[in-house]
């Protein structure tokens, strides 16, 4: 009887904990939305269209319209859109004034001397506020009394701007992809400290292969893909050695991966001679900077696909269940017929291979490979996994939790950037958040008791 209610209570707490991370992410998003709420200008095209509507409504087609812009691409886009809209509605007398306030003043003087009048002065949020236009009736009484039009601004959080959100996802792609492997390793009862160094190693190796073997700047797509695959395979092989040492010689994962971390990092410096390798073709940035489907960055798309596969594998395959079993109780798992060594080995191979992939994405984002990449990433990755609710003692955790954990960390970093918090303070806050998350997890599992 007693155990019934206890069991129910702990189940309830677990369910709440699963939602808890999502709620935390939403709350963070809400917080940063509120504090970054600012005046926003519409895009040139949208602003021009809205402005044209108002002009059409208030003025007839005979009115003389000035469109004042600077010599900038965005301004020109604004002017062109506006001109087109007005032309379509029958306006004939449209004049574009391009340049600095000085140019506008000269033009105004010229119009005043000729005795021409102006009805409307349209500009964007900058040009329409030029001082020149502030007191026209007194300074240029000869041109009539033109009305000044500017696009309507609106209030919207910087945090929620599409660019910013895409930016967040793009920035966490590398960490989130590697965190898949880390989640798998941690659920199986281990830890992998070598992933940060493997990023550097794989980035350097890929770029070196492209530079020295695939034809440097002239390298073709197939060759580049091949170089990337080789780097991933080499990383996976390193993971195989790591896993082999851990499973067959029963060495502690912490020490083995610590050793691998130093070796991989050192090798990256040795291979590259300590310099970054940048002699690679422009096409190489497709993975890191490109966006081929509906404007979603390729790296983000890749991340999403990998998470789907991993989620399915963990939940719906034998391999996934074996991972949980091995991490939960390896002896009981072995006596239930689980090939525990093979399962653990596969976890380390996967982790290393994904770290290799992460290195390639990073090299593609930065269009070069340097041995300095990925420093401290292992810690951010572990933090994402733990914040996502995976237990460091193994046997428990969720792949999608890790994705949320990665987002939580990225959102905090991004939000602090938007709030102009300096980077040292950011580190302190991030550390606090990680501690808080682990503390909450502990309380969720064991209550407030010390033992």
């Amino acid at each position: 009887m007693k155990e019934t209610s206890l069991a129910r209570m702990s189940n309830l707490l677990h369910a709440l904990g699963d939602y808890g991370m999502v709620v935390m992410l939403l709350l963070l998003g809400l917080f940063f939305s509120l504090v970054t709420l600012t005046e926003q200008q519409p895009t040139p095209e949208v602003g021009a269209r809205e402005l044209a509507q108002r002009i059409k409504a208030n003025h007839n087609t005979d009115s003389v319209v000035w469109i004042v812009i600077r010599e900038l691409a965005t301004d020109r886009a604004f002017a062109e859109s506006l001109q087109q809209e007005l032309n379509e509605s029958g306006h004939k007398q449209i004049v574009q004034v391009t340049g600095l306030p000085r140019d506008a003043r000269q033009e105004l003087e010229a119009w005043q001397q000729r005795g021409d009048h102006i009805d409307i002065i349209a500009g964007n949020e900058i040009t329409s506020n030029w001082l020149v236009f502030s007191n026209l009736e007194e300074t240029f009484p000869g041109i009539g009394s033109p009305q000044i039009y500017r696009p309507t601004s609106y209030r919207w959080p910087n945090f929620l701007k599409q660019d910013n959100l895409l930016n967040i996802t793009n920035q966490i792609a590398v960490i989130a992809i590697i965190a898949i492997g880390m989640t798998v390793v941690i659920i199986s009862g281990g830890i992998d400290l070598s992933v940060g160094s493997l990023i550097a190693f794989s980035a350097v190796l890929t770029c070196l292969l492209i530079r020295d073997w695939a034809g440097s700047l002239q390298a073709g797509v197939v060759a580049m893909v091949l170089c990337s695959l080789i780097a991933i395979l080499v990383s996976a092989a390193i993971g195989g050695i790591t896993g082999g040492l851990i499973t067959f010689f029963r060495l502690p994962p912490f020490i083995v991966t610590l050793g691998m971390m130093l070796m991989a990092s050192g090798s990256a410096y040795l291979l590259s001679g300590g310099e970054s390798v940048y002699q690679i073709p422009d096409g190489f940035v497709w993975l890191g900077r490109g966006a081929s489907l509906l404007g979603i960055p390729n790296a983000v798309l890749m991340m999403a696909i990998l998470y789907l596969i991993a989620h399915l594998a963990m939940k719906r395959t034998r391999w996934g269940r074996y991972l949980y079993a091995v991490g939960g109780n390896d002896e009981a798992a072995r006596l239930s017929g689980v090939p525990i060594r093979r399962v653990q080995l596969s976890a380390y191979i996967l982790s290393a291979a994904l770290a290799g992939l992460g290195g390639i994405i990073m090299a593609s984002q930065l269009k070069s490979g340097a041995p300095t990449y990925g420093q401290m990433y292992e810690l951010y990755v572990i933090a994402a996994v733990v914040v996502g609710g995976t237990s460091l003692s193994g046997g428990e955790g969720k792949i999608l939790g890790t994705l949320i954990g990665a987002f939580i960390i990225a959102v905090i970093q991004n939000g602090m950037n938007l709030m102009n918090i300096e980077s040292y303070t950011q580190k302190v806050i991030l550390g606090l958040v990680i501690l808080l998350a682990v503390l909450l997890d502990r309380i969720k599992q064991h209550g407030f008791r010390a033992h």
């Binding site: 019934t4 209610s5 239930s336």
Partner: protein
């Protein structure tokens, strides 16, 4: 500790006037609205051994946790020699002279016996621990307990019985007046149990009051002065041991009459199915040969360390044999891992369900599914619905008490955990089932159900190997008994029904 003479009332009959050593009156405790204990009275006299009995979940441990300061009672009071006491922490309990010895010992493996005995109350002079003084005191205590061994030995190198004596020595060194022992004999061999009882008698002579929690009736009748039974959190009876009969005690515990402890069965052993010859591994198993028939419950008796579990692990592929063959239905098996043994149709129910049988923090359904996942896999993907349906089906036939498939295995009682392990092997269609201590830590009612299940399995023609240190269980359940000693088979009892414990013991120490 006997009371100093000065405190005793003069000129009265002592036995009537002195308040009992410990009184617990009207103890009630509920957790999250559920009554775990209600109106429980417990009285313990000096120099008395009180056996506390009851099924799992009857409230024995809750009552003892209240005594030990781990829980505060909602109702009722505790008196020590007539004085009301408030036990609000384990530290307080210790300072009042209440010592608890749990099944899992509270020893630090790397520290020596003496260091463990004096942990937290070190003998210190000039800020330094006086190791020699501690060691000589420990040696004295151990000698008094009849377990003389070097007090400098690290606890990890001590036998279970020796570790237990370290725990008792610690209690004595802390001037304990009340000693609570939770199933102390469960981990001991019969000779070790004998020695434990000698120790308990020592304690009794010193005037300690002992509370002995246990399931084995024979032992209770041997050691206890009085027995108290709890059922569903309430007192179900308390009687002097010489006024109570076995079946009455069982009746009292389970709340229904039980005529027999072991279900009746007429075995019909079929043809030989499992054949083991010349199996060897180190000193533990030295050339064991035997045959087991379908429909037969074959008992493996012997002392702890005789090599029974080691032999079972060889047959299950958990360890590799150095020589010898295992044949099942005429087919020779070469087993390099449990996975291969399972594939061949062998299932193993280990003595330690929590560490080896189950992944306790995972759900009961996924524990059930673990060896059976290939049955539920189509095109590489698991069919979770099918797994759950299969689980429910087996759970139903086993009468597994559960809240749902997602319940954690740790929240099952011992008997239901054992049923869960049986269910997972049955779903795997195992033909040979090795039960290692099948009813350890399982209460009387559930034991009977496990026995019935074992009978049913044997009747289906499966081979059942049973290892048990409880000789009555061995004699009551097995169709045939093999006795092991020091890695070898030393005897066979073909008609257990007409044999006795003495016969087994003679072969086991031969």
């Amino acid at each position: 500790m006997p009371m100093p003479a000065s405190q005793r009332p003069k000129g009265c009959d002592l036995s009537e006037m002195i308040s009992p050593l410990l009184e617990m009156r009207g103890i009630g405790k509920s957790f999250a609205g559920i009554q775990a204990l209600k109106g429980v009275d417990l009285v313990l006299q000096e120099g008395e051994v009180l056996a506390l009995m009851g099924e799992n979940g009857a409230g024995k441990s809750t009552l003892m946790k209240i005594l030990g300061g781990a829980h505060l009672p909602d109702e009722g009071e505790l008196k020590l020699r007539g004085n009301r006491i408030l036990v609000d922490s384990p530290q307080k309990a210790r300072s009042l002279g209440i010592a608890m010895i749990y099944q899992e010992f509270n020893l630090i493996p790397a520290l020596s016996a003496a260091e463990n005995v004096f942990l937290g109350q070190e003998i210190i002079q000039h800020g330094l621990i006086q190791h020699e003084a501690q060691e000589s005191r420990t040696a004295d205590l151990l000698k008094e307990l009849g377990m003389p061994f070097d007090p400098r030995t690290p606890c990890q190198r001590l036998s279970i019985a020796q570790q237990q004596s370290v725990e008792i020595a610690r209690a004595l060194s802390q001037e304990a007046q009340i000693l609570v022992m939770d199933e102390p004999s469960a981990v001991l061999t019969p000779p070790e149990v004998k020695r434990l009882f000698a120790i308990i008698n020592q304690c009794r002579k010193r005037g300690l009051g002992l509370i002995y929690i246990g399931h084995r009736l024979d032992e209770i009748f041997e050691i206890a002065d009085r027995v108290m039974v709890l059922r569903d959190g309430q007192p179900a009876g308390s009687f002097p041991i010489d006024q109570c009969k076995r079946h009455e005690l069982i009746h009292c515990m389970v709340g229904r009459p039980m005529d027999q402890e072991y279900p009746k069965r007429k075995g019909h052993p079929g043809p030989v199915r499992l054949k083991v010859s010349e199996l060897r591994r180190g000193k533990a198993v030295q050339g064991v040969c035997f045959e087991a028939r379908g429909g037969e419950i074959l008992g493996l008796a012997g002392l702890v360390g005789a090599g029974r579990t080691e032999l079972a692990r060889l047959i299950f592929g958990a360890d590799r044999s150095e020589a010898g063959t295992i044949q099942l239905d005429g087919r020779t098996l070469s087993l390099r891992s449990p996975a291969e043994a399972i594939a061949a149709g062998i299932g193993f129910l280990s003595e330690d369900r929590k560490l080896q049988g189950l992944i306790t923090q995972h759900s009961i359904c996924s524990n059930f599914g673990l060896p059976n996942l290939n049955q539920f896999t189509r095109a590489g993907l698991l069919n979770l619905g099918q797994e759950e349906a299969s689980f429910n089906q087996y759970a139903e036939t086993m009468q597994l008490k559960r809240h749902g498939p997602k319940q954690r295995a740790s929240h099952l009682s011992g008997g239901n955990q054992q049923k869960l392990v049986i269910a997972k092997w049955l779903a795997r269609r195992c033909e040979v089932l090795i039960f290692d201590e099948p009813t350890r830590g399982i209460d009387v009612g559930a034991k009977y159900e496990i026995y019935q299940l074992m009978h049913a399995l044997a009747d289906e023609g499966k081979v059942i190997l049973m290892i048990s240190s409880e000789l009555p269980e061995m004699l009551g359940m097995a169709d045939r008994i093999l006795v092991m000693h020091q890695g070898r088979l030393t005897g066979e009892i073909t008609h257990p029904a007409s044999s006795n414990q003495q016969a087994i013991m003679e072969m086991a120490v031969a």
